[in-house]
């Protein structure tokens, strides 16, 4: 832009500047290309492996099976049209959102409390051990985790179920069902809580001891300290962590599939069913629409996380 401006100016120095800039333009482009060339394989791989599939999802979400542009797929999954299977996908979507909300808020709060208990501990070894453990447990999940819970809390042969039954409290007699919504949420907590501990622990380091001392010197009670200092500083980090947990709970497929053998009506499971061909003919493109809807929701949660993380880092310096 600035070259255009100097071009029109009558000053001779400006003209010569513009000329030299023009001359070096292809050179600069060439230089940029040459500097960038070594990252080209990486960029090509990401384009083919990540970008192209994403573009395909967005494109095909708005196509009918005949390839025509349509909003019908989205109408079906959001249930604004009068399709027979319409309500099924709408319910799945609502269940997914509910599951993600429950498994982000509850483990978010519990994870924060546990991280606080760990952060205020005086034992260095204990801190290290719990940090390592949460790193490991946050990686648990999928089929292995589901099988672990079936073996321990299953209805008939679950070992922990037997222990609880022996002391007179069989959870299955009190409304607990491992293979329904709350059971799945119970299992998700196993990786969501450690994930929250991992995310939130650095934020406790930003909570300076001197602030607490200052508040106490000014006569603040512990409650007022938390109300006016502690929570306002921590809340962006806690909220940001919850956004991330929301994404992780919303998109988990393997754990729910293995635990419920695909009977729970949530969006990832429904996408899986469509891909496996368990669907009415002519609805194959619904998988793209469902995938597109998931991308939109997940994008919102990641943007929320990124914005809140920027606010958190202000206190961590």
């Amino acid at each position: 832009m600035s070259e255009f401006i100097t071009d029109t100016s009558p000053a001779p120095s400006g003209v010569s500047d513009a000329l030299s800039a023009k001359k070096s333009m292809p050179g600069a482009l060439f230089r940029t290309l040459r500097t960038g060339a070594p990252v080209l394989p990486f960029l090509v791989y990401v384009t083919l492996g990540l970008l192209l599939p994403t573009v395909a999802i967005i494109n095909l979400a708005f196509r009918s099976n005949a390839g025509k542009l349509t909003f019908n797929n989205l109408k079906v999954i959001l249930c604004v049209s009068n399709s027979t299977t319409c309500s099924q996908y709408r319910v799945g979507f609502e269940n997914s959102l509910k599951l993600a909300l429950v498994t982000s808020i509850v483990p978010g709060i519990l994870g924060t409390l546990i991280a606080y208990a760990i952060a205020t501990s005086k034992h260095e070894l204990f801190k290290r051990l719990t940090a390592a453990c949460s790193g490991v447990l946050a990686q648990f999940g999928g089929v292995n985790l589901a099988f672990m819970f079936i073996a321990s809390f299953g209805a008939l042969s679950g070992v922990a179920t037997h222990w609880l039954a022996d002391v007179g409290f069989n959870p299955w007699d009190h409304g607990f069902d491992l293979y329904k919504f709350w059971g799945v949420a119970f299992v998700y907590m196993y990786f969501q809580i450690p994930l929250m501990v991992l995310i939130i622990t650095p934020a406790f380091a930003g909570l300076k001891e001197s602030w607490r001392e200052a508040a106490e010197n000014l006569g603040a009670s512990s409650w007022r300290y938390w109300r006016h200092v502690g929570l306002p500083v921590l809340s962006p980090a806690v909220l940001g962590g919850m956004f991330l947990l929301f994404g992780s709970g919303f998109s988990a497929y393997a754990t729910a599939e293995a635990l419920t053998t695909g009977t729970i009506a949530i969006t990832p499971i429904q996408i899986g069913a469509i891909l496996q061909g368990n669907v009415l003919s002519g609805e194959a493109n619904l998988a793209y629409a469902l995938g597109f809807a998931m991308i939109v929701i997940l994008l919102i949660s990641v943007i929320g996380y990124a914005l809140l993380r920027r606010r958190t880092s202000r206190w961590l310096r």
Binding site: V136, F140, A151, V159, A254
Partner: protein
């Protein structure tokens, strides 16, 4: 769960105590914090240990219900288990080879010459949250040509994408801790070419970062279920889910062994990282 929250409610309530006696308050407050923390950590430990221990007990018993290591010997004889293990191993090797060959030179170059490009790579590391495996496979199915769809190595190609964030983070930390410029200039002034710089100077210096990158990739390939099952390949997690055994204990045992292996391997990475840090300091 309620008592866990209760422990913390009590903790926040110490203002009441302070009004009673100033001299005693700090001690009592301290004890209450300890008590609250103890309860919280105890309940957390119970939630994390009980399922693990119970599932271990479930899978490690003989037909009389007593503890026994004998089921371990039955794993290898379980139908199709070895072929699943072999498939997972092949995929793990292919994925690790591709992801390291792709990422290591790129990241060394970016750290040396294009530091601003790290922003782009950081964005890419957050993408798998926006496009999780269940969504990615939908798109991949839509664009993959048929000849590639029928190959098991399509899985390895997809796993490379999934592994990129882990590999990026490990290598970024490793490269950040090195004085890359000095190392490279010293090697170049001694007359070595780029291949030998990477292979004989940088790779040995990046050993712990490379190790954690490859181990995380390994764990990813051995644990990935979504894409493998929807593409119809019987890798280890798919085998655990669908295994044609007449004995559910064996499947659970394999699942528990996989979890234990993840534990051990990740713990090793942590301790290895710490050792190299303390050596550097």
């Amino acid at each position: 769960m309620a008592s866990l929250e209760l422990g913390y409610v009590l903790e926040g309530d110490d203002e009441v105590m302070e009004t009673f006696s100033r001299s005693n308050s700090s001690k009592l407050w301290f004890r209450r914090v300890r008590w609250g923390r103890g309860t919280a950590l105890f309940l957390a430990a119970a939630y994390f240990i009980i399922p693990f221990y119970a599932a271990m007990q479930f899978s490690l018993q003989n037909k009389y219900g007593h503890f026994s290591l004998q089921p371990l010997t039955q794993i290898a004889q379980a139908p199709l288990f070895l072929s699943a293990l072999w498939l997972s191993t092949q995929l793990a090797i292919a994925t690790m080879a591709i992801v390291l060959i792709l990422m290591v030179p790129t990241m060394i170059y970016v750290h040396l010459r294009m530091p601003r490009f790290r922003r782009v790579m950081e964005v890419i590391t957050i993408l798998p949250i926006v496009i999780p495996p269940i969504v990615l496979i939908v798109g991949v199915d839509g664009v993959t040509p048929l000849w590639l769809k029928s190959s098991q190595y399509l899985l390895a190609l997809i796993y490379v994408v999934l592994a990129m964030p882990y590999v990026y983070r490990s290598l970024d930390a490793g490269l950040g801790a090195l004085d890359l410029k000095t190392l490279v200039e010293a090697a170049r002034s001694l007359g070595s070419g780029w291949v030998s710089i990477i292979w004989r100077v940088l790779v040995p210096n990046l050993r712990s970062a490379l190790l954690s990158a490859s181990v995380l990739t390994l764990a990813l390939v051995f644990g990935e279920f979504t894409i493998a099952s929807l593409d119809g390949w019987t890798t280890i997690p798919v085998w655990i889910y669908l295994a044609p055994t007449n004995n559910a204990r064996i499947n659970t045992l394999v699942a528990m062994m996989a979890l234990l292996a993840t534990c051990v391997v990740l713990m090793l990475i942590v301790s290895f990282d710490r050792k190299s840090h303390s050596r550097r300091n």
